[in-house]
Every structure is written in C-alpha cells, then in structure tokens.
Symmetry: C2
Subunit: 214 residues, 2 copies
DNA sequence: CCTACCGATCGGTAGG
DNA sequence: CCTACCGATCGGTAGG
C-alpha cells in the first residue's frame, strides 16, 4: 500500500513536472528565457509561487530544466522522424525539411525555442548561453554528419567544406523562423525550402538521387 | 544673454540626449529592449532615475526613441558608405559587404541591434514589434531595389524573384550575426561572404562585373 | 503543495 | 535635473 501510494504520488509528480516545463517552454519561446518569471508561470499553472518554486529551487535551474525539456521536444519533433531515412543527400534534405515542418507545425508558440534563446543569450556569457550553444552545436554536428556522409558516398561535391554548407543551410532555416514570426509570413518556410533545394542541387553530383520540386 | 543661455542649454540637452540613447542602444543590443530598464540606464549614466525619466516619459517611448537612435547609427554605418557605389551587381555586393563589415566593427556591443530586436519581439505583437518590422522591411526593400536594378541592367538572371534573393542574402547575414556572437566565431562574417559571393556568381550573367575573391 | 513574508527592483509620480 | 516616494512584481525563504 505504501508502495502503491508512493508510485501514484511519483506518477502525479511526474505529470506535474511535465506540465510545468511544457508551459515554461512555450512562455520562453514567446517572452524569452529571461522573461519567463516564476510569478507568470505560477499564474498560468494556477499554483502558488512557492509551491511551484519547490520543483526547481532557483531561477537558473528553472531555465536550465526548461532548456532540457525543449531539447526533448526538439528531438521528438525534428530528429526522430528522420532517423529511418538512409544516409546521403536524401537524408540531408529530410533533416532540413523536417526542421521547416516543425516550424510550420508551430511546435513552440514563438518559433524555434533554440533560435529564440540563441539570439537572446548570444551576448550574455554564463551557463545559460553555454547550454544553448552546446544544444545548437549538437544539432549542427548532426546536420554536418549528414553532409560528410553525402560527400563520402559521392552524392555531393567535395570541393566545399562541410561546415560551410552547414552554416548556409542553418542560416536559411533561421531566416525562415525570422520571416514567419516577425512578418507573420506563412510562405517563409517554402522560401527557405526553395533556397535549400537550389543549393543542394548545385552541390549534387550525377550519383545523387533526385530532389523533390516544390 | 537669455538667448545665449537658452542655446547653450539646448546644446547641452542635445548632447545629453545623444549620450542617453547611445548608451541605451548598446544596453539593448546585449540585454534586449525589454531588458533595458530605466534603473540600469540611470546607473550607467550616473543620473537619477527620475531625472533620466524626464527625457522620454514612458518605458515605451524610451524603447521607441532607442530604436530611432539605432536606425540613425545603422544608416550611418551601413548605408552611407555604399550610396556612392553605382547600381547593379557591384552595388548589391557592396551592400552585403558593408553590413558584414558593420558586424565586424562591432558597431553595437551585442551584434546588429535590429537582428536582436527582431528575434526578441517577433512573437510579441504591439508597437515595438511594428516599428522593428518596419525598419527591417525598409532595409530589405533597399536590398531588393539593388537586386531589381541588377536584373533591369542585365547583370543578374531574371528567372528568380527578387524577394527570394533578398531573403537568401539577408538570412546569410543573420546567420553570421548568430555564429559570431553565440560562438564568438570571428570567421563567421567571412563564411557569410563566401556563401553570398557563391550565390551571386550563380546569379550573375556574362554582362556582370567580376566579383572579388575572398 | 500552501500562506505569509523578505529586500530589491520595476515603471512611474509629486513636488521642487 | 534632484529627493522622496508609490504600488506591483521580482527571486527567494520560513514554517507548516
């Protein structure tokens, strides 16, 4: 009985935690990680500030845990569906398309959580910036790996450095995020798709599979 | 005598105003326009909060006046030096290069003021977002005009819409801002230059002047 | 998980 | 331009 109670309690605690960070992640994507205040979060959750506070213990922990929750959502929404796609150019395109689809599906209210956090903390040194930078680096490395594989298998040209291509593809995604939210321009993701497909076609060799047309 | 005194006072008032908004613009480029608090600004300027407050009258006016000050700086640092360059592809490249050079010169402490403000307010409707969006639109229209001129004079291909090219070039600049500040990567502007030159060469016709090599 | 607090800071005002 | 305030909200604590 004591065990059952504990399990029920733990399960409930887990659901509460999930609800907290799901809410936190969406507030942060709109108002910023600094604009995510404990009072606002408590009001949204209809909890007392101090009751909520017990779940993390400091503002910085709230921010770091919120980043971790956003990371899990990102992996689920962007990376998972592409894992089955074979390596090479098809996979590289699938990764880009998946990212743009995640933007279109408005997985986070205010656009990509990591894009927003990147620009918010890019000039504020500290643990938050470091964790955001590490998360971004991980995604870029994942993209870059797909580029290296495409080069190794002879599907894209090797006279251009993988990190240069990574930079270009990611910049176009960030540009889509920018136009979609600042101008409420729903055509922005497709503009990015067109630019990315154009670039990939220029990089493709004869051995590459066909890319979709928009 | 009364006139001389008034003039001296006005001149001093103007210098004070300039100092206020110069300081405000740099705080905002690092901490964000929302993170620009009257108390912080007063401390930096060694003025009392209420004495400072008299210069604008509300937080929103402070933010709007700070945007206006940033706009003047942007025009001075990015646009002015390119005004003499002839229209066409050379001018289009000069505009891109000038923007990247303004990033490298660190005209604003935290990167381009308008890039930072764009991402901060892209999901927060209101007058601040509207003014930021209008400022960005103005710069994009300026870029796009150079693209149209290049197409009209036959220096770049016409089978691609000017706003698509504008989007791609601006996205690469924003990407440079991102990598330069989040990763302290000083090679980021040159990576953007390489990408832009690559793209412009692909768009150039036989009638186009030679572009620089990096 | 709660109520009841704390000092610090927020945007803003009164009065000079 | 200043001092001296205002109520609201910030992150955080005590005690239950």
């Amino acid at each position: 009985m004591a065990t059952a109670t504990r399990q029920r309690r733990t399960a409930k605690g887990k659901r509460t935690q999930e609800l907290i960070f799901q809410t936190a992640v969406n507030i942060a994507s709109v108002e910023g990680l600094a604009g995510l205040t404990i009072g606002r979060l408590a009001a949204e959750l209809k909890m007392s500030k101090s009751g909520l506070f017990g779940h993390f213990g400091s503002k910085e922990r709230l921010q770091l845990d919120t980043i971790e929750a956003a990371r899990r959502i990102f992996i689920n929404e962007v990376v998972k569906s592409v894992r089955q796609v074979d390596s090479g150019l098809a996979r590289l395109w699938a990764l880009c398309d998946s990212w743009l689809s995640y933007l279109e599906r408005r997985v986070f209210t205010g656009g990509c959580f990591f894009v927003a956090a990147s620009f918010e903390f890019d000039s504020r040194p500290g643990p938050i910036r470091d964790v955001i930078a590490a998360n971004n680096r991980e995604w870029l490395a994942y993209l870059e790996e797909a580029i290296r594989q495409s080069q190794a298998s002879g599907e894209i040209k090797t006279d251009i450095e993988p990190d240069q291509i990574t930079f270009e593809l990611y910049a176009l995604k960030v540009g889509a995020n920018w136009a979609l939210h600042l101008y409420d321009d729903p055509t922005a993701p497709d503009r990015a798709r067109r630019a990315i497909l154009d670039r990939l076609r220029m990089l493709a060799t004869g051995a590459a599979p066909a890319l979709p047309t928009l």
